[in-house]
């Protein structure tokens, strides 16, 4: 039997890499979603708080990160987020994987130009391009990234430590209109439907890809799959909605267990609400 030529071997490897990577990404996304539900059910500091108080406290802490005009304060808030995560059974490694890296990439792209655009005290000159990196530019980029990272970490902590239905009910308790809550609730369900449909579709396609695929074919496959996926997800989502309506769903969130505030919920809320006030006062 002949050994496969290096070209065919490379194509095959590339096809496998593409197919496997895509399938792995989808599996990982689903696994993360399921992990979030598991994390919210385990014991921990944030898991033990009343969702209404937790929601207000996290929003307040996010407001602090937005208002902070000192890097030290921002770093303190970031460390507070890490400490809260650790006390709630969420490791920094998980935060790094699920939020920090992604936020760094997206915000970094936006913040990067500012390090040479913002005028100020020169720190370093980029070889060949002769662009000057300024201290003020670095500072403004660090602020942007720091605020985004800290805010996203607080937001993720809320989602990871609270069952999604509890977040929705807390929003209703705080007066968020039913239509907004219903849209958020259905969006959450549809994301699952979309991921599961995508996985099934891709598995089915993968089993039928016989020949090596070049870049154009792969792009065409992805575009066709995306179109089909949207159509299928739309149909499935409608079915999910009908199944909910059939059992009496009218957009309102009902839970078996009512929320009960305890003294520690009030303490957390007091601290969380005092922080932005203190920041505003100190930055007068």
């Amino acid at each position: 039997m002949c050994a496969p030529s290096p070209v065919v071997g490379r194509h095959r490897q590339s096809r496998r890499r593409f197919a496997d990577r895509f399938a792995d990404d989808l599996t990982r996304a689903l696994a993360r979603a399921f992990d979030a539900e598991a994390t919210s059910a385990q014991r921990g500091l944030l898991q033990g708080l009343d969702p209404r108080f937790k929601l207000v406290s996290m929003l307040s802490l996010i407001l602090c990160a937005v208002l902070a005009q000192s890097l030290t304060l921002l770093a303190g808030l970031f460390l507070l987020a890490v400490a809260l995560a650790t006390l709630s059974g969420i490791s920094p490694a998980r935060l790094g994987q699920q939020v920090w890296l992604a936020v760094l990439i997206f915000t970094g792209v936006i913040a990067l130009p500012s390090i040479v655009i913002v005028p100020g005290e020169p720190v370093w000159q980029v070889p060949w391009l002769h662009w000057t990196v300024t201290l003020q530019g670095l500072r403004s980029a660090t602020f942007l990234i720091g605020r985004a990272e800290t805010s996203a970490t607080f937001a993720l902590l809320l989602v990871l430590t609270t069952p999604w239905m509890h977040v929705l009910k807390a929003m209703r308790a705080l007066g968020v209109p039913v239509v907004v809550v219903a849209i958020l609730g259905m969006t959450h369900r549809y994301i699952f439907v979309l991921l599961q449909t995508a996985m099934q579709m891709f598995e089915a396609r993968r089993s039928r890809i016989m020949a090596p695929m070049d870049g154009a074919q792969r792009r065409s496959l992805v575009m066709a799959a995306a179109g089909m996926l949207l159509a299928k997800s739309f149909q499935l989502s409608s079915e999910v909605h009908l199944a909910m309506v059939s059992r009496g769903y009218r957009g309102e969130v009902h839970l078996l267990h009512d929320f009960h505030a305890r003294w520690r919920d009030w303490c957390v809320l007091l601290v969380a609400l005092s922080l932005p006030a203190a920041i505003l006062w100190s930055q007068r």
Binding site: F34, F192, V240, L242, A243, L255, L256
Partner: protein, 283 residues
């Protein structure tokens, strides 16, 4: 109110330019066990959705419990909840029906929407989990269940509301034999409950067990109606509505043949002059 649970008078339903139900007129009486038979695309699922007031007729009048059903009527919370309490639909694909984080939450979803007292919900959910032998799945995420388990959860999540009318869309589709038997057992047992059960299926093998009355649909119209025995013997009707299926079997000499006949047909294995058409080596 007369003894009819549903009355359809010249009801039509269209999906954009496709007619799914065409001037359908039929009655379903209280306590009836009805099988809706029809090939794929005959309008069975659409009819079930109309009966569950998820869709509304494009033309004609549909009455449930003597009252005309319309989107405007169902917009009222009291009317909606009263209707949802009385009619339950089990979807064909359990994945679309199971959307809560745990099996317990799933079964409790309907009663919670209908505003039952919490103590009653807790009690009823436990009773329902026990009835369907799924208590061990209570805290399990629905996506980690097998097909048969999902179907049982879907059934439990509808039956907990003790609806007077249960609508089932292809309840045995894609189930393993044991799970199929469990679903059929439930449908057989419903004979003595006085509950109205409407089952859409194209599985002729279960019709006599699950129904006392059969409505055959084809192209969105009623193609035939009668007792299960009469319908299953009507080869012409089954053939016209693409429900007749050939029975294949292999003889000792390795040859296979097919018989297209009434569903309850029996024949002897034979090698005589009347031996049916032979098809060798292929099914």
């Amino acid at each position: 109110m007369n003894g009819n649970v549903f009355e359809l008078d010249a009801v039509s339903y269209r999906y954009q330019d496709k007619v799914a139900l065409d001037a359908l007129t039929l009655h379903i009486r209280r306590g009836d066990r009805v099988a809706l038979l029809g090939a794929n695309g005959s309008g069975k699922s659409t009819l079930l959705r109309l009966l569950d007031a998820l869709y509304f007729p494009s033309a004609g009048v549909l009455k449930a419990f003597g009252e005309p059903m319309s989107e405007a009527a169902l917009a009222d919370d009291a009317v909606n909840f009263a209707f949802r309490r009385r009619v339950g639909l089990v979807f064909q694909n359990p994945d679309v029906q199971i959307f809560n984080p745990t099996v317990f939450d799933e079964v409790a979803f309907g009663p919670l929407q209908l505003g039952w007292p919490k103590a009653q919900i807790l009690e009823q959910v436990d009773a329902m989990l026990e009835r369907f032998a799924i208590g061990y799945l209570k805290d399990r995420a629905p996506h980690r269940l097998s097909g048969g388990e999902k179907k049982r959860v879907a059934l439990a999540s509808v039956l907990i509301m003790a609806p007077e009318v249960v609508l089932l869309d292809e309840p045995t589709a894609s189930l393993d034999p044991e799970s199929q038997s469990e679903v059929i057992r439930f449908l057989v047992e419903s004979r003595n409950t006085g509950r109205t059960v409407v089952t859409a299926t194209h599985d002729l093998d279960i019709v006599e067990d699950i129904a006392d009355h059969v409505i055959v649909l084809a192209d969105g119209k009623v193609a035939g109606e009668g007792k299960p025995g009469e319908i299953l013997e009507d080869v012409d009707l089954l053939r016209r509505t693409r429900l007749a299926h050939a029975h294949w079997h292999r003889h000792a000499d390795g040859e296979m043949h097919a018989h297209l006949h009434s569903h309850r047909h029996h024949h002897d294995h034979h090698d005589g002059p009347e031996r049916p058409r032979l098809i060798t080596g292929k099914k």
